[in-house]
Symmetry: C2
Subunit: 208 residues, 2 copies
Amino acid sequence: MDESTPRSLRLGLLYSGGKDSTLAALLLEDFYDVTLTTATFGVTDDWTYARDTARSLGFTFEKLELDPDVATEAVETIRTDGFPRNGIQRVHQHALERLAGMDFDAIADGTRRDDRVPTVSRAQAQSLEDRYDVDYIAPLSGFGRQAVDRLVESTLDVTVGPSEEITRADYEAELRALIAERDGEAALGSIFPAHEQTHVTGVQDWNR
Amino acid sequence: MDESTPRSLRLGLLYSGGKDSTLAALLLEDFYDVTLTTATFGVTDDWTYARDTARSLGFTFEKLELDPDVATEAVETIRTDGFPRNGIQRVHQHALERLAGMDFDAIADGTRRDDRVPTVSRAQAQSLEDRYDVDYIAPLSGFGRQAVDRLVESTLDVTVGPSEEITRADYEAELRALIAERDGEAALGSIFPAHEQTHVTGVQDWNR
């Protein structure tokens, strides 16, 4: 295929249905043939919310099935640590590797400049690219928190709320469910700090 | 002004007329009211090539006048070092500060993930944002070299050649002229490593 034809480059984006990954999709859609992919261990059906948002925005969607052994490992890490950072980082790395193993010219995620977790260092990005012969792109990594917030406000329709009430599909929902199964709901409060999540409900008309 | 209206956010992008800053402009134009700005010390008229390219692509253009004292300082640094890295870095920082002092909601440049110089660290970005109450955005900082090359191939019409023959407007052209004035043309070869520059001549029709 002629690489110089419009949008001939196929890109798979890790998609949660939240504001960051939706903004990443909009930034890339003029340049790549974008497929939104939502990762799941098959523990909950939270991924279907991301699928529905992806489709309502007109994007191609694919479910990305993760290795349940990685969930087990991440849950053990989180229970031992008492905080989710390292476990979620491990799952993100695994999800990127799964995505890189699919038939895309480029893969991407919605990580921002100011994100604490998950992060992908320059060395990790290069390693991923070398091992899988794929481009790894983090379109929001050059945007700070305020820049993203302003863009979201001018571009997206968003529902915001505490992370335990918002239906979206990042790894946290499934990891929470697995930990609640083992240790009970009460354990979640001390492990997962309260933070706001977002669920995108639409794109403002002018932008499409 | 209502921040939620289409492209109500004003962004100034440091623009050289080369492929990286042109790609950065295309990535941002759906989200910001973009003005391309080309920095000059008033030493040569290389900035006019960037202006002409900016206008041919349909962008608003503004000349960004730099402080000649910074040129003098950068030239001394480069002559002492024997390589251009630190001098160019100093000029880039100054250009960003000048741009940040103008009336924009956000400023941006075309630095990539794999660039050695100029670079803007996360701490430098945050400092710029805090001091000038502006968002600093590096839209290509999440793209590696190969990803940029592939996008350029599928998006832009580009002329490529050795840096001494290509008409574009980065800081190098003016710094080279100042050094040649002091030490003669022969000095340039040992200070500036030979590398390829690009000058964008157009955008492929499908993308606009």
